[in-house]
Each structure stands twice: as structure tokens, then as C-alpha cells.
Point group: D2
Chain length 337, copies 4
Amino acid sequence: MKVKVGINGYGTIGKRVAWAVNKQDDMEIVGVTKTRPSYEASTALREGCPLYAAHAEDMENFEKAGIKVQGTLDDLLKKVDVIVDCTPGGTGAKNKELYDKAGVRSIFQGGEDHAMAGISFNALANYHEAWGASSVRVVSCNTTGLVRTLFPLQQAFGIQKVFASLIRRGADPADKKGAALNAIEPSLKLPTHHGPDVKTVIHGLDIQSMAVATPTTLMHLHCVAVELKKEVSEKEVLEVWSSSPRLQLVSGKDGIKNTGQVMELAKDLGRARGDMMDIVIWKDGIRTVGPMLYYYQAVHQESDVVPENVDCIRSMMKLEKDNLVSIERTDKALGLR
Amino acid sequence: MKVKVGINGYGTIGKRVAWAVNKQDDMEIVGVTKTRPSYEASTALREGCPLYAAHAEDMENFEKAGIKVQGTLDDLLKKVDVIVDCTPGGTGAKNKELYDKAGVRSIFQGGEDHAMAGISFNALANYHEAWGASSVRVVSCNTTGLVRTLFPLQQAFGIQKVFASLIRRGADPADKKGAALNAIEPSLKLPTHHGPDVKTVIHGLDIQSMAVATPTTLMHLHCVAVELKKEVSEKEVLEVWSSSPRLQLVSGKDGIKNTGQVMELAKDLGRARGDMMDIVIWKDGIRTVGPMLYYYQAVHQESDVVPENVDCIRSMMKLEKDNLVSIERTDKALGLR
Amino acid sequence: MKVKVGINGYGTIGKRVAWAVNKQDDMEIVGVTKTRPSYEASTALREGCPLYAAHAEDMENFEKAGIKVQGTLDDLLKKVDVIVDCTPGGTGAKNKELYDKAGVRSIFQGGEDHAMAGISFNALANYHEAWGASSVRVVSCNTTGLVRTLFPLQQAFGIQKVFASLIRRGADPADKKGAALNAIEPSLKLPTHHGPDVKTVIHGLDIQSMAVATPTTLMHLHCVAVELKKEVSEKEVLEVWSSSPRLQLVSGKDGIKNTGQVMELAKDLGRARGDMMDIVIWKDGIRTVGPMLYYYQAVHQESDVVPENVDCIRSMMKLEKDNLVSIERTDKALGLR
Amino acid sequence: MKVKVGINGYGTIGKRVAWAVNKQDDMEIVGVTKTRPSYEASTALREGCPLYAAHAEDMENFEKAGIKVQGTLDDLLKKVDVIVDCTPGGTGAKNKELYDKAGVRSIFQGGEDHAMAGISFNALANYHEAWGASSVRVVSCNTTGLVRTLFPLQQAFGIQKVFASLIRRGADPADKKGAALNAIEPSLKLPTHHGPDVKTVIHGLDIQSMAVATPTTLMHLHCVAVELKKEVSEKEVLEVWSSSPRLQLVSGKDGIKNTGQVMELAKDLGRARGDMMDIVIWKDGIRTVGPMLYYYQAVHQESDVVPENVDCIRSMMKLEKDNLVSIERTDKALGLR
């Protein structure tokens, strides 16, 4: 029997996780919530996801719009084994009480604090920590991006120290709020939370980060400087990443020079919604100088955490012991390999 | 037997037309050309399109990159019934000589002059003009957009006069050239070519246009003011468009307020590459005042002409007499209905 | 003795009006208000404008920041003949009660409704309507722009009908809120308020408008289509505008092709803050077709209303009867001629 | 007698250097060149800079446009002691031959290679190296920015190692060419030239850099990580920078959170053209962790090198021995202090 999954918050992340869960053969979506009868409510129905109102008071709006809902979040919680919380960051703690009371396992996203669930998750780095857990947080898009490239380096060569500058996209493509139209804005509170957040998954890593927001919508881009524990060639680094999951190695020489062209590649690869769930590394933008390694990577903020949520369900529900097997199963089902 | 189609220029438009042709059951791609071994060359191979070098001198570059090509454009021309020219605007006349010499029918895009092929095409408005023709030009994305909404109005109510302001996207998402980063730029040469171009398809229409370029990549947006031949209600206008092909009626009330949200809808609809091949009209942005009708429409410059190219092949090759049957067949195959 | 002027709201418009008033020899700033001790509070002091807290409860914040204020708005109102309200749109009605109670004349900006003050103002079109008035509204940046070019046309040739498409900048350069980063957004409520607003100043004009917001910060740009009462040449139109005040005729041929280059010209002209208080018309973007006239104009939303506020004070305070004399006096003092 | 200065290339940098030279009392502009009769040619005349055609073949264009020129570059070279080359990067070597042949001293900008002039210049770090030299290169805007903040740190504390990520603006405000409209683009060739370029001025510094281009026009922004030779507090760092020239310390708490607001501050400070010739450091964006110092700085690419060119002239012409005296003199004349 398939694991029954609910999504609380069918928005940018929620609709993608719903799609990804339904692509697997060991889990299925039994319902999703929305607060308003927007076009995304129609998307849910079109994709075969039973629709629930997030709150009792939202039901009237759906009725007025002529959209039938199956009940409220409370009703949905009675039907699921796991609820994936994709509500806007910061409301997770309050929601967790509801989930705990209903006795369902819960997954939160990176907008919540680590302390709230106590376990932060990345499928490659610490899959086992979510094993059978009742509540887990999948780390944010940026943290996921850093972990996917740093963890293999740590395993292969050892890492002394990391410094990353995060050049963030200002808002998602369909978002109106966000960065200034024509300005670069630094995250003044230093160190930014990104470095410490990596440590919730790769424990004990020495990492610092700075961040700026820029007026673009497509992807974050990281400038990463790593002091390795030994001197290695660029070729050795590439070999490590070539055999690591969920990485896409691209090249400026092939005409992929910026994040716009990366997203074009995602469309050319036939990826659903044009998403790039892999972390993108420029092969011709890697450089080693003594023990130092410099590289650029791009992170698709709307989708890179999606397969991580699937694997997290598998670990929490004890469906598969081997993380690499789970990753491969997820990725094949999503068309990533 | 399927009609054999070649694409000269596998770029933004070319790769989409190739995909669309291969989705039909009465035509197929037998080859596409590229000038360089970029990532789009890999896309062609991945999508099962035999690859040819655009020019003999390009072959060496493909060899160096380890990409096998089947020959040159000249070789491809020997195998096709129709060649769809998707090269950058302005080189069509020179190419036409090659196509004519090879005795193959040719389709050009809106970047070329009307005079070059002598027939300009839109599937709804003048499908029959391409019937059996040896050379036809599919009008540009903006002209296609204007024709799709104006032709049904003309049929239903009659049109006295049209004035359209075109707010153009500055560049395509993966393009580096284009508009200034933070400026609005008017097309100073008045009237702009857009108005006259509509007349190559809807003969005799009284239409004027102005245009500006803006720093955005997703869609063009038109402000259209139409003087109709009779006074009608907004509801009557909506009814006409509701039964016209390749239009998508959206609403700000449903959360679709700008071109970013329109493109999000395209992804939610599961459209290939996230394309919106329909012309988008805002239902709550229509207004009639006496005989005047005002409305906004959005045009996805990368894809709206793609189904038109398919229908154009069908008309030129005399595969289907009824334009509405061809349109329906194309659209079903492409997942547009 | 100079007329004593106060500014309520020393922000984008307020700080410019303060500067402009202090440049005149018949009026002076006796105080400006701010709600917070931001860097613009320092600007006020640097420019010799006595600083007041907008509300009593704001005073503590200034004290904490070590910035001395002279009192509150109530104190300021006791010292002024006229208060210029430059607070964010929509709070004017509430403020008007305070001003009326204090017995001071008041000027509001275009974000307020016409009905609130009952008189809307443009120095060229209806200077006399503000003569001796106790409360007047200076129309918005876009309306000011339309009036400056349409009024001379109406005087010279007569106007049958106007249709304008407004391509709006999404946010001011130092603003964080505003338009989506990469989208075009139509103003769905039609007709937009811009057309009707022109009629509060040029009474009886037949004008309709549509509007879109774009991701740029510098200027609004208008596509204007005017049906004149007689057929005229482009040269005749240019002659009319050449002798009208506060217009800047530019040319794409001279390298001024977009709003970015217009703002560069403003800097090259040595204008304070790099402002372009004139409305900009492209000489090579004018076209007449029969009785129709098409033209583009650009509007610097941060500054074009500034000299209008100065003239409005002069009319309300009965300092000068002839509007053209007032306009010339203002413009010379501001370095506009 | 004043030193006679010519400008070859009256564009973004050239027109600012011309203005700055004319503000000094020991040097003056005797002529500037342009290749075309654009609006900037009018600017030169308006600012009292005699105009010369860059090449003999350009003269006809000026004549046609009715703009009188005083001759060509060759004529200008006969009248100057120093020529400041502000032509587009990469043509300097060819121009140097002309200057050398004419026997005039020459200054080049950062777009040229260090090797071409052999001496690279920053007024604070190595003023003496230009003393009496015949040809000197003023380093680029980004390099100037790094030197202005790093040199005082090196003097005060010693520097072990620097890593800087440069988030570049994609194009200047009035430029049409440049970055993609909605993408982030990494500089793939590592290490980027910025790090090595700092060493041409601060010899022997251990510095590495990475860079990305973003779709914004106002300023570059740097994320800088410095390993100091001793552990210091943030307060000590601030004290060093407070007494260093050409730095502007700002604070997010005062409402200056991004580069748009920095440029607004420049206008509020009454700076000519709204330029920010100082390097901007966020006081609340500084952090020390052990010997590591992290900080953000913003660089106004259009103007920060302008006062450096003035000081460079003074050193080459042996007008003032003490660099701090020259800096103060320049800055006072330009209204920077």
C-alpha cells in the first residue's frame, strides 16, 4: 500500500512536491490545501490532487468561486501518514502543534528554524537521521545547493574551511514582492544564516557566508571558495562531482553562460515545468590554487528541494534504507536521469 | 506517407517547430541545421532530429566537438518536401534562392519582408492563401497576436479602425543582446511596422501602431483600442473570443495579474517548455465605451507562431482543406486543448 | 516679505519641492516634517530646512538618533502661510482637517482625489483657478505630462479625441516596493484614472487611457494618439511645442533613444539631483496621418510636478497674476532655462 | 600657470574627468575629443570644453550637424601637457604611440593592461610611483574600490590573505549593451583579473577574486573576506576607515540598504551628476571572526576613478609631493568633503 501524503500549502514548492510524490510508486497525494480559489486551485484539481481549504473560514471563498473542496486541513490530516508543510516560512511551529495533535508525521521546509523539528535533512548527507522520525525539516534551496557540492568534496578530500558568497535572485518569476528593481542589496546581518544552516546537515563544517539580493528571478548563484585538506587537480574535483547525484555539469563553451541559459537547458531537457532540480556547476569555472578550490554553482530556488522532500518521506516512513537507492528511484521517476 | 519537413536554424523558434511537427501524424522532421555545436545541437539529437551543419565550413566545428552531423543544408534539402526557415531575420531572401533551386517548398518567419514570399499567413484569417503555395511567410509573434483577436471581432462586428500600443519584451530569456537594463525605449520610426504587417493577412484593415521596448524577457503586451462598426457589450465580445481558437482568457481576480503569472499558468497547464502558444486576454481588462473596445493581450514571442507553422505546412502541402479542422488537429496534438 | 512654506512629508517629492521653494525669491521653507530619523532627515538639515516630527509620538525616535527637531507638525502649522502636503497618497483628506483647523492654505499632490480639494492645478492650463484658493491639488506626474503637451495642441489646433497608453516605471530608484522584477502588468480597471484626471484640468477633453507597469525605475513613457480638429504637419506641431514651457525636445539621432539616455541628458544639463522636470518629446518620434497625431513622451515621475507646486503657491498667495510670468520665474530660478 | 590637460574620448569617464580638472586651480582642460556629434558633444561645449574631432574623417559629421570643432586629436596634442585617454578599453596601446610621438604625457584607464604603461596608480597607495612619469594607468573602478579599503587595513593591521566576490552591475545607466536582462552570469575565467590587478598597486598582496554580472545599472558591490595579521574588533576597523580618504560609511539602519539608496544619498549630498566618488561601506555589514574580517562595499563604476585621475596628473606633473595633500585638495574642489 502506498504511503498517504498531504500537502499543506499548494504554492511554488507545494505544487511541485505534490507532482513529484504522485510520480513515485510507493507514495501518493491524498489531498492538498489552499487558502484562496486562485488559478493554482484549478491546477491542483487538474493534476488530480483533492482540494481542501486551509482554514474553515476559507471554505466560503471556494464555494463562491464555484470550486468544490473536500473539507479543511483538519479533515485532510485524518487521511494522511505524512503532511508536507509548504506554507510561507515562519508559521511552521504553530502548524506543528496541529500535526502532532493529529498524530501525523510532518515535513517542514527551510524557511523554518532547525530547532523546530530538531532534524534537518539532505538525502545525500544525512538521510539516516530522518529514519522513522516524526518531524523533519528539509533544508532551504541555498543550503541544499551547498550541501550537494560540498559533501562529496568532504568525503573525497576533506574540507578545512569554506567561504561562500550567495548572489540571490530577488523574487520568484510569478512573485510581485521582493528585491528593488534596479539595485543590489547586501544581507547586512553577518554571518548570514546560510553558513550555519549547512552545519545542521554537515555537522562540524567550518563555513562562513555573505549574501546579496539582485533584480533577477531565475536562480541563485554561489561563488564558493573551499580550502581542501589536500591539493587536488581540477580534473579530480570534476571526477568526484561527475559521480555525485543531482548535479548538472555545464560549460560556457557550449553556450550556457548564465542562469537564463541554464533554465533554457532545463526546458530543452524536457524537465517538467522547465525546472532544474539539479545543482548546476560550470565545468570551465572551476579552479584550484594550492589547497584552494574556487567554483560557481547555480541553484533553482523553486525546485531543487523537491526530490529531497520525496526522499525524506521515504526515510521517515522507513520505505528504503539505502539513501543512494532512494535518490536513484526518485530521480528516475522525475526524469532527472 | 508523412510529409518530410526540414528546419533550417534550430534555435528558439526552430526547435519548437521541430517538436510540434513531430507531434503531428501527417508530417515529420527529417533533419535540422545548426551552425555551431552548442547545447542546442545536443537537444536536437536528444529529440530525435537528425543534425546537419548549416554550411560546409561549420562541419569541422561539429567534428571537433565530437558531434556527428549527417551532412550540410544542401544534403538536407534533397530529403525534404518543405523547409521551415528559422534563421535570424533578414537572411531569408538569400536562403530562398537555395530552396527554390533545390525545388523544395519553403516557409519563412515574420522577421522577413512580406514581399519576399508574397504570401503572409495566419491559420485563422487566411489559411486558404497558402494552399499549394511554394513559398509562404508566417507572420511575426506580434502580428499573429493581433490577428488572433482582431479577426474574430471583424467577422462578428466589423472593425472601423484599430490603434495598438505594443509594449515589447526586450530580449528572450536566454538572450544576451537586447534592450537596455533599466530603460524604456520607443520605436521612433512611425508608424511602426506592426500595423501594416497585420494588413498582409487581414487585407484592408485600418490599423496604426506604436511600440516600446522594456527590460523584461517573458511576453509582449498590447494595449488595443478598436472602433467597432456597432456598439456591443463586453459580454458579447467575450463570447466571440470564447469560441475562437488559440486564445486563453485569464483573470486578475484569479491571481493572474501580469506576464510572469501568465507564464506560471503555462507551466501549471503542463505545456511543453512552459510555452503559452495561445494569445492571452484579460477578461477583467476589457471595456467598451460606445463603439470603442479597449483590451489588453499578452503574446509569448517564443511560441505563438509555432502552431501556425504546422498549419501552414498543411495548407501548402494540401493535407487538409478546412482551416478549423487543421487548427484543432494541431492544437490537440500539442496539448493546447 | 517672503511667503512662509512648510512641507509635510520630506520624501521623494517633498525634498524636491523644499529645494525649489528655497530657490525662489518670493517664498521660503520654514520647516519640513519627517516620521523617522532616516538619512533624508540629515538631508533636510544639510539643506537648511528646520526639521519637525510628523507626529508627537515620532519625537522620541529623533531624540534617540541624536537629531534635534523643532517640534511637531502642529508647531510647524503655526508658522506657515501654506503647507505642501507630500505625504503618501490617500492620507490627504485626514490631513486637510488639521490644515483647515490651523487656518493655513494647503496644497496636495496627485495621489489624492480631485474632490478632496475641489481644484486641480496645472500652471499652464488653469493657473487662475487656484487664485486665492485655500486648498488646491497639483495633478499627478502622468497627468502633468499629458497636460503639458495636450494643452498647447488644443490651443493651437483644437482636439477631437485623445487615446494614451501609459507605460509606467514600476518603482522609484530608491524604492523597494513596486512592480514584479521581470513582468509587464496591465492596469485592469478600465478606463484607467489617468484620462479622467486630465479633465480636472483641461475641462471637457475627450480622452481615454490604458496603462501597464514595467520593471524599470527611471521615467514613465506615453504613447499618445490625438485626433486633431484639423490636419497639420509634423513641423507645425513641433513649432507649437517649441514655444511651450517645460518641454524638452530630444532626438534619437543625437543618441537619446531611451529613458536611460534622457536621464543622462538631465545630468549633462547640470540639473539638480539629475532631475528632468521638463516633459520629454522625441522630435523624430512624431507622426501625423490625416488629422491623427502620434507621439511619444517621457515623464520623470520624481520631479515634473515640482515647479507646478511653486507656481501653485504663487497663484494661491496672489503673488503673480500672469501664469507665464510665474512659470518663467520659477524655471529660471531652478535652472530649467 | 595651469597645467594644460586634454581628454581623448569625452564619454562616461571623460566628461567627468574634464569637469573635475576644471574644478582644480592648478590645471585646466584645453580640449576634448569626440568621434560623433551626439548630445555629449553639446555637453562639452556647454561646459566650456573646446571640442576636437577624434579623427580627421570624423570632422565631416560634425560639420553636417552644424557643430564647430577646433581641429583633430593631432591639433589638440600640440596644446596639452597631459592627455587623459578615456577611449574604450583596448585601444590604448595604439593611442600611446600617438601621444609619445607628440611628446605629451599620457594617462590611461583601467581597461588597458598594466604592462602598456608599466605604472598603475592609486592616489592613496602608490602616488609616488607616478612622480614625473611620462605614462601612467589609473586602475579600474573595481580595483580602485578594493585598494581604497584594503590599503588602510594593510597599513593598520597587516593582511594575510584576501578573497573578494564582485557582483558587477551589468551595464551603465545610459548603455544599451551589457548583461542579460534577467540572469546572473559568472566570469568563468578564474581567477578573474580583479585580484591580480590590485597587486599592480599594492605589491605582494595575496588576493583572489571571483565575479558575476547582474541586471542592474547603478553600482558594483563587493563581498570581501580578509584574513588580517591580527585579531581586531569591528570598532577598530571602523576607526581605520573613518580616517581614510574617499570612503563613505553608511548604515542600513538609516535607510540605506541597497545600491539604489546609496545613489539617492549621492543626490541628497548634492554631488555633481549624482555621482558617488567615494567607496561605500556598510557600517552594520562589518563582521570580525577571529582574524577574519567580512565586509560589503559598493563602487560607483562611472565616477570613483575620477579624483584619482586628477591626483595622477598632479603626481606626473610634480605639482604636489604629498599624496594626502593632493587628495584633500582634489576632494575639496569636487565637493567630496
